[in-house]
């Protein structure tokens, strides 16, 4: 057991995977000697060798295609796309190829790739370093989509993702890499070391895909969140003094519908929070599911707090980022409704 931030926990997951399985290899832009622009692969090339963790040309379509070819051969590629904002050139390879290879070949070929990519705002990255494109992947049959919110989960989920035989899109909330940011940007930055989820086992363990976590039990209202928004929701629950139950979804597809349903049936109210733009966001899917599964238990309209339907504007970082104030307001509306 060691105290790790999210960067270290992800690094540890890959270190463990490289050590256990010679078929695991890592590639992406700047991940080799340099260790990645967020340092997530730091030291892995040195420790495991040049062919196990290496730099690629800057061509995301090519990077993912290479991964699919390797995975179909039998390897377990871990692909880093430097920012989720740069995954779009690879979208065709992910959607038309990786996602459907098993289905269209009758199980003859599979593509067990894991595509890791930092996403989300809070870093003044402007429109090309801040996006949250999860709904573009949850909409695609054949892909799993995973988003951790803390170091312990990040390691356990990444190991599960790589060991999973389906292609997995693994979105890393970059604002959480070095601390559990809760949206109160005007307050001192918290390190992970003060958070219980920074206690991370050194060796192999898994957090299974498809299992949500209740990170704050409560009776009054259910909050569904993932990534950085888990911490924002926790802050809002505290700020509002509303007895909210905060659920960290951890895996969007496959979704842990039991945990969600049980909670909303209990509270009768639901607030959904994500950074991504609102229209056709994953919150729309969650809202529909809650309505389908819990209609007779609902005592108020389902609330959605999401990014505005605009590109991510550089100067307006904190007007755009859905912070605790907006979640608190939604909690109040849900309680009044």
């Amino acid at each position: 057991m060691a105290i790790m931030n999210m960067v270290q926990a992800l690094n540890s997951a890959m270190d463990v995977l490289l050590s256990r399985d010679p078929d695991v290899l890592i590639f992406g832009e700047d991940v080799g000697y340099f260790g990645g622009v967020f340092r997530v692969t730091e030291g892995l090339q040195k420790r495991h060798g040049l062919t196990r963790c290496f730099d690629t040309p800057i061509g995301e379509a090519g990077i993912v295609a290479m991964g699919i070819g390797m995975a179909a051969y039998g390897l377990r590629p871990i692909i880093e796309i430097q920012f989720a904002d740069y995954i779009y050139p690879a979208y065709d390879q992910i959607v038309s190829e990786a996602a459907r290879l098993r289905y269209r070949s009758g199980g003859d070929f599979t593509a067990p790739i894991t595509v890791r990519t930092p996403y989300g705002g809070g870093i003044f990255g402007g429109q090309t370093h801040s996006q949250s494109p999860e709904a573009l992947f949850t909409h695609v049959a054949g892909l799993k989509t995973v988003i951790p919110s803390n170091p312990y989960d990040a390691k356990g989920l990444l190991i599960s993702a790589v060991e999973c035989d389906d292609p997995v899109i693994f979105l890393e909330p970059k604002r959480l890499y070095n601390g559990p940011f809760n949206g109160h940007h005007d307050r001192p930055v918290q390190p992970w070391s003060a958070h219980p989820a920074s206690q991370v086992p050194d060796g192999h363990y898994v957090v299974p895909l498809g299992q949500a976590a209740i990170v704050r039990p409560g009776e009054a209202v259910t909050v569904l969140a993932y990534g950085a928004m888990v911490h924002v929701a926790m802050a809002a629950a505290q700020d509002s003094e509303i007895d909210a139950e905060v659920i960290d979804l951890r895996t969007l597809i496959p979704l842990d519908i039991e945990t969600i349903t049980a909670s909303v049936r209990k509270t009768g109210r639901c607030v959904i929070v994500h950074e991504a733009t609102r229209t056709s966001g994953f919150g729309a899917e969650l809202s529909a599911l809650v309505q389908e599964h819990c209609f007779h238990h609902l005592e108020a309209p389902i609330e959605r707090v999401a990014g505005w339907d605009t590109p991510y504007p550089h100067a307006f970082e904190w007007d755009y980022f859905p912070g605790p104030a907006r979640v608190t307001a939604a909690l109040r509306r849900a309680m009044e409704g």
Partner: protein, 409 residues
């Protein structure tokens, strides 16, 4: 035939890493003036050698030699020198304010100033540039107002882009500078479309596009060359090979066994490979490509062989992946020093004038900085959230209008 030899995977490695001696022994340094200047209507197939050679005009003594000497008037040389020096001073100034926490991010073009400045001067004012984040020299050479440039970087009420873009991602239609996206490569192929539109309308304007060595690996690069070749688009396609793409050396982009200029050969396009730190050579090669395009002979690919003398951006620390002294060992020197030496050799410039000019451009940057810094932030008490919601669409749909209402409380 069955293969009995176990295969092995090749991963390219740069010549030197931190702690090692910089090693440019594999970089050929041909003499200035060695290459002839072909006629602009030459068949691409007849000039393949230019994709592997290196057009150089300025020799070691600061003399302009050979057929590629553009024979620019001393006044034009002094203007070029000033634009390069202002670009460098501007970069230094913006780098400093980023370090002081006044702006979020910045990208310098140090060591590569000749690329944007000489090319801007060789092109016509009406030609549209599709630059990357490292061609700020285009705006400076074209006389774009410095306070507006800096306003964009400060992302405050002086920002013509209304705080929407990351610093360094300028846009100005009036100055022939296409909006920078931030996603690599995307605009290289758009430039071809712009050029085709000009041809379609029977206009006289060209397009010029820039891409880094690293980004040539994106499909957009290959789309640009294919489409430009097919439609003989009046476009100049520039590859700025500054040896590095963040931490990846140019071998990772496919430069280990060939040149970037040579990519053009497979597409049937002419290619010129140029000493990118030689203002005169860059100007001359660009003029050649522009003349060819203006004569309806189509696109040219130019590789500008240069060196990224500083970090990739303010987020980068190059000493983590390359020898710290590598920049100072670059065999092609510094573009500003070389042009200055040439002007002095011509008897058209002096050390004193050089020092005065340096002080002048640095003063201009400082003074502009004070002026721009005094402007209020976009989202402060005097600001409004309007720029966040407008211009997503031409007319704001109901859902966005409602979100704006909610945001403004």
């Amino acid at each position: 035939m069955k293969n009995s030899l176990p295969l092995s995977l090749h991963i390219p490695q740069p010549a030197a890493r931190p702690g090692q001696e910089p090693d440019f022994s594999s970089v050929a340094v041909p003499p200035a003036g060695a290459l002839p200047r072909p006629e602009i209507d030459v068949e691409p197939a007849d000039i393949h050698a230019f994709a592997y050679g290196l057009i150089r005009v300025l020799d070691e003594d600061g003399q302009a030699v050979g057929a590629w000497n553009p024979r620019l008037a001393p006044q034009a040389l002094r203007e070029g020198l000033r634009a390069m020096m202002l670009t460098r001073a501007y970069d230094e100034g913006m780098y400093r304010v980023q370090r002081q926490g006044k702006i979020s991010f910045y990208v310098k073009s140090t060591g590569e100033e000749a690329v944007a400045v000489a090319q801007a001067m060789a092109l016509d004012r009406e030609d549209m540039g599709f630059p990357t984040y490292r061609q700020q020299g285009l705006l400076i050479a074209r006389g774009y107002p410095l306070p507006l440039m800096m306003g964009q970087v400060y992302s405050n009420q002086g920002d013509p882009l209304k705080g929407r873009q990351l610093p360094s991602m300028y846009s100005s239609k009036a100055y022939g500078f296409f909006s920078i996206s931030g996603n690599l490569g995307t605009q290289f192929s758009q430039a071809v479309g712009w050029a085709m539109a000009s041809a379609y309308r029977g206009d006289t304007r060209l397009a010029a596009a820039w891409i880094g060595d690293g980004a040539t690996a994106e499909a957009d690069f290959h789309h640009a060359l294919t489409f430009a070749s097919v439609y003989r688009a009046p476009v100049v396609l520039n590859i700025v090979n500054n040896q590095w793409a963040i931490s990846s050396f140019q071998g990772i982009a496919g430069g280990e066994r060939t040149t970037f200029a040579a990519r053009a050969i497979g597409y049937g396009l002419p290619a010129l490979r140029v000493d990118g730190n030689d203002f005169l050579a860059v100007h001359a090669a660009t003029t050649w490509a522009a003349e060819r395009a203006r004569a309806n002979l189509g696109a040219t690919v130019i590789e500008l062989f240069t060196y990224r003398a500083e970090g990739h951006s303010t987020s980068d620390d190059p000493s983590r992946y390359r020898p710290a002294s590598e920049a100072s060992r670059w065999p092609f020197g510094d573009p500003i020093e070389r042009l200055s030496r040439h002007l002095i050799a011509l008897g058209e410039w002096s050390e004193d004038q050089q020092a005065d000019l340096k002080a002048e451009v640095e003063g201009l940057v400082k003074q502009t900085q004070r002026q721009v810094e005094a402007l209020p932030p976009l989202n402060g008490p005097e600001g409004s959230l309007e720029p966040m919601f407008t211009e997503v669409y031409q007319d704001m749909p109901w859902h966005l209008a409602r979100q704006r209402q909610e945001a403004e409380g």
